[in-house]
């Protein structure tokens, strides 16, 4: 059958698709791949629908054994050494892997999250309409563990006939475009956001990237009634250290959102490693 067996997971390996739209009303966030562009790219390369489920691998280390049917796969996102039965094969390349072979990812050279897209998609059961692990809500397929068997779906489209894909632009320093947020006036000086060289802390995860480097002091003492949040929102808790929301952000939140990162740039933010420098640049709203 078309399947993969997990032989090693690295720090964190999750099944992700493009998430669960339209469920904020019951407290369920969108979730899905943290770097959606890389998921889409990988899926297109192997002839899948863009939103097919793939494996999101945080900081490499994943090893998979192909079942008794050969598969076609492609690793995108954070560029990483990929080996098939020990032979170098490379990321951002469409690979035909034989039955029984072992596919392994090294440690990414840049970026944080790689995506293993498989022709046919990872065919685990949907949970609330998606095959996405939401780490904050604890919803969706469990994090991968050694020995897990992952069914792979039947191919739906033609292979596009592409062998190699462009690498993502992971140039440094990371500069994220941001639109002034609805509660920018709830901090004393919102321009500190763009004048500070922030550092992503190790308390960052799929919920958000936590930043250190300065303090955006609140200018008011009253409490903001809970309001809707979205991927890309820069929320400032009373500590003054902003959090940039990623895929598994809270549905609603009570701290002021002082900026919202341009949607396309949130995928880049999801590739920022702890310790790495992050800057913001104001852009106008469309």
């Amino acid at each position: 059958m078309r399947a993969l067996t997990v032989r090693a997971t690295g720090p964190l390996a999750l099944v992700e698709d493009l998430g669960r739209p339209g469920r904020a009303g019951i407290g369920v966030a969108r979730s899905g791949a943290a770097d959606r562009a890389s998921l889409r790219l990988g899926n297109r390369a192997v002839g899948n629908d863009e939103g097919a489920a793939a494996i999101e691998v945080t900081f490499g280390g994943l090893a998979l054994e192909v079942g008794d049917e050969g598969l076609c796969l492609c690793v995108t996102g954070a560029p990483v050494d990929v080996t098939v039965d020990g032979r170098g094969a490379g990321s951002h390349a469409v690979l035909q892997v034989a039955a029984g072979s072992r596919v392994a990812l090294g440690t990414p050279r840049a970026g944080l999250r790689s995506y293993v897209a498989v022709r046919g998609g990872i065919d685990v059961p949907e949970v609330l309409g998606a095959r996405s692990r939401d780490v904050m809500a604890g919803l969706g397929p469990e994090p991968l563990a050694e020995g897990d068997a992952l069914p792979v779906g039947a191919p739906v489209g033609d292979l596009p006939g592409v062998d190699h894909l462009p690498w993502p632009d992971l140039d440094e320093p990371v500069v994220l475009r941001a639109v002034r947020g609805p509660r920018a006036d709830w901090v004393e000086d919102v321009d500190l956001l763009t004048s500070t060289a922030w550092q992503a802390t190790d308390r960052s995860n799929r919920v958000g990237t936590r930043l250190a480097g300065s303090s955006l002091r609140h200018s008011r003492d009253d409490q903001l009634p809970s309001e809707g949040a979205w991927r890309g929102a820069v929320q400032v808790p009373p500590s003054g250290e902003p959090v940039l929301f990623l895929a598994d952000h809270p549905v609603t939140g009570g701290y002021p959102v002082v900026a919202v990162v341009v949607d396309e740039d949130v995928d880049r933010a999801a590739q920022v490693r702890p310790g790495q420098e992050v800057r913001f640049r104001w852009v106008g709203a469309p």
């Binding site: 009634p225 949607d263 709203a285």
Partner: protein
């Protein structure tokens, strides 16, 4: 109504009060504009996210054409009955904060129809608004690190039921055995926006 930009794909609409936010969310749900991809109602705001392929300008144009009606007090919303054992740790505090007796707190809680205004905090958690302000109380000074599944609480203008064990700062007045969120049930969440809720007092009746 103030419309704030929210990045390049969304708008955050500020409304005068909770009623107006409910009414706008209702109107958008009843007749969703093509440009609307996702909708996140909250206490005084509604966040509108553009649909894939739609621009935020389309969303802005669609929003200008929305005519929120009066809040539907009866409407077609489903009604859910939630049986509660009123033995919450904060029942006495709620009584003194509201100037009511314990019995009057229970009577006020069971004697009005609540409505799910919005979700958040955890899957299956609904912020419930009632018909009057008798039970409006502040959150606890100190949050609890562990609130059990099914705890029934009050905070600000809202009532709620914890769908699973979690930290929490709401004033706890009781508990229910009714599962708020169950993935093996369709729909998984009992408290969806628009659903009306009646709490019933089953203190001392459960085995």
């Amino acid at each position: 109504m103030i419309v704030h930009p929210y990045g390049d794909r969304a708008l955050l609409v500020d409304l005068d009060d909770g009623e107006a936010a409910l009414a706008l969310a209702d109107a958008l749900r009843a007749d969703p504009p093509a440009a609307l991809g996702d909708l996140v109602p909250a206490a005084r705001t509604v966040l509108l996210v553009a649909a894939e392929g739609a621009a935020v300008a389309d969303l802005r144009a669609a929003l200008a054409g929305v005519r929120p009606g009066e809040r539907s007090s009866s409407g077609d919303g489903e009604e859910v009955e939630v049986p509660v054992v009123y033995d919450g740790e904060d029942l006495d505090d709620v009584a003194s904060l509201t100037g009511l007796s314990r019995e009057e707190v229970v009577a006020a809680h069971t004697g009005q129809t609540w409505r799910v205004a919005f979700g958040g905090f955890a899957p299956g958690f609904g912020y419930l608004v009632g018909e009057d302000d008798r039970l409006h109380v502040p959150r606890r000074q100190e949050s609890r690190t562990r609130v059990p599944t099914g705890a029934v609480g009050l905070a600000g203008e809202y009532a709620g039921v914890y769908p699973r064990e979690s930290p929490g700062g709401w004033q706890l007045i009781g508990r229910t055995d009714l599962a708020m969120f169950d993935l093996d049930r369709e729909p998984a969440a009992l408290l969806r926006p628009g659903v009306r809720v009646r709490f019933t007092d089953v203190t001392g009746t459960s085995p």
